[in-house]
């Protein structure tokens, strides 16, 4: 077992904090919840750092924990709140339709889009985070693009 050093985790946290926060915020549609998910994810990473096997880069391991923590929080929030239509932030319109279209993507497509856009990860890095092949990432992102373009064409302007 390899294990991860505390200062390595801290360095990645400090240098990539806003990318982690953006992905978590986008997944949870709430900046406060996104921040909390990142903090909880790194708390878990600090506590479980001895269990890091080193089969993927440390950053990919940390991204997995952040994504899992954000998904867990989303499930908990769904379980606690009654299903209701999300209120539009600035009134309804094409912008909200885009937002809804992104949130309506399948889980893996949405994660790939977020990692690509907010974290600027290359296909190989995304593949390591999602535990798929790089070719699958390309196909997943293509499918997401197609879906979003199609939905945008359907939105009345």
């Amino acid at each position: 077992m390899k294990g991860a050093e505390l200062d390595e985790i801290e360095a990645l946290y400090r240098s990539r904090f806003h990318s982690f926060a953006k992905v978590a915020t986008a997944l949870l549609a709430d900046p406060d919840a996104g921040f909390d998910a990142v903090q909880e994810a790194f708390t878990a990473a600090v506590r479980k750092r001895r269990g890091f096997r080193g089969d993927v880069p440390l950053e990919a391991w940390l991204w997995r924990i952040v994504l899992n923590k954000a998904r867990d929080q989303r499930r908990s929030r769904r379980a606690l709140t009654a299903p209701a239509p999300q209120p539009a932030a600035n009134g309804s319109g094409p912008a909200d339709a885009v937002r809804e279209s992104i949130l309506g993507l399948p889980d893996r497509q949405r994660a790939a889009v977020f990692l690509r856009y907010y974290a600027d990860l290359d296909y190989l890095s995304i593949a390591r985070v999602l535990d798929v092949r790089a070719g699958t990432v390309a196909a997943t992102l293509n499918a997401a693009h197609r879906t979003l373009r199609k939905r945008l064409q359907e939105v009345p302007r």
Partner: protein, 277 residues
């Protein structure tokens, strides 16, 4: 990023709105980590205490703890003195000192001047008490078996005294005998939601010859096999969802020495017999 269309980029930016307003807070992570560690230590300590309590119980009863709890028969001859003492604390009879107020005409035998001479608690388990009261009435001694039960905060009751004048009184005169080695007090209930009657307790008193008591289902299978400890059998868990066909008494050699029919047709017949008496 050019690979995303402009409207999509705008949508993504809106989704992550507010994320840049928060700053990285590494000390907060270290603090949360320490709190989580303390929680883990607390949980581990609680688990250790519980495990210790379980081990202490197991040390008294040894490997027989599980059979005793789940209701498999345990040979008392195999038990150590410590185990016997433990069982006695659970189910053994003990004399109860009488107060002067209990030396009154007996309430269970209306019309008869009776005085309680002694009162002995045979078993007190799961909110059910079995008492034997020795009475003196008309210059003769009588023994009366009383079954009481408690629910929650002191509520409960005792076997209807009037029943002692009916078939239960006749049973009491015959018990214990080869014809009637057990005196069953099992409770059966049916609710409006589930009209099929079912046991909520298999309980009663048994002669020395009875080792276990069980319920026989329609297919002949014996379930809820319950050991007789200090002449008492009592089980409130693991009971079948029907009344079954019979309550069966089994001796130490595994022979059925008594069957009490509890099928609905037997209850109907019992009702007719009581009406003729």
């Amino acid at each position: 990023l050019s690979e995303f269309d402009l409207p999509v980029q705008q949508g993504l930016d809106r989704l992550a709105q507010g994320a840049n307003e928060r700053a990285a807070d590494w000390p907060d992570i270290l603090q949360r980590s320490q709190l989580a560690r303390r929680r883990s230590v607390l949980v581990a300590t609680c688990c250790l205490v519980l495990a210790g309590a379980a081990l202490a119980s197991a040390a008294v009863f040894g490997p027989r703890l599980v059979p005793i709890i789940v209701g498999q028969p345990v040979d008392r001859d195999e038990l150590t003195p410590a185990e016997r003492a433990g069982l006695s604390r659970i189910s053994g009879g003990r004399d109860v000192p009488l107060t002067t107020t209990e030396r009154q005409p007996h309430e269970y035998l209306p019309g008869i001047e009776a005085v309680t001479i002694s009162k002995r608690l045979l078993a007190a388990r799961g909110g059910h008490d079995f008492w034997v009261e020795t009475l003196r009435a008309r210059y003769q001694r009588h023994a009366v078996l009383v079954h009481c039960w408690r629910f929650g905060h002191g509520s409960g009751g005792c076997e209807d005294p009037a029943a002692l004048a009916g078939p239960r009184a006749r049973e009491l005169r015959r018990f214990p005998s080869p014809e009637l080695p057990i005196l069953d007090f099992s409770g059966i209930q049916a609710s409006t939601a589930n009209t099929t009657p079912r046991y909520f307790a298999l309980e009663g008193i048994a002669s020395d010859a009875v080792k276990t008591v069980a319920i026989e289902l329609q297919n002949g299978e014996l379930v809820a096999v319950t050991p007789v400890i200090d002449n008492v059998y009592l089980r409130t868990m693991g009971l079948p969802k029907t009344t079954g066909e019979a309550i069966v008494a089994i001796d130490s050699a595994g022979r059925r020495i008594y069957d009490a029919c509890v099928a609905p047709e037997c209850f109907a017949k019992q009702g007719q017999d009581e009406a003729t008496h």
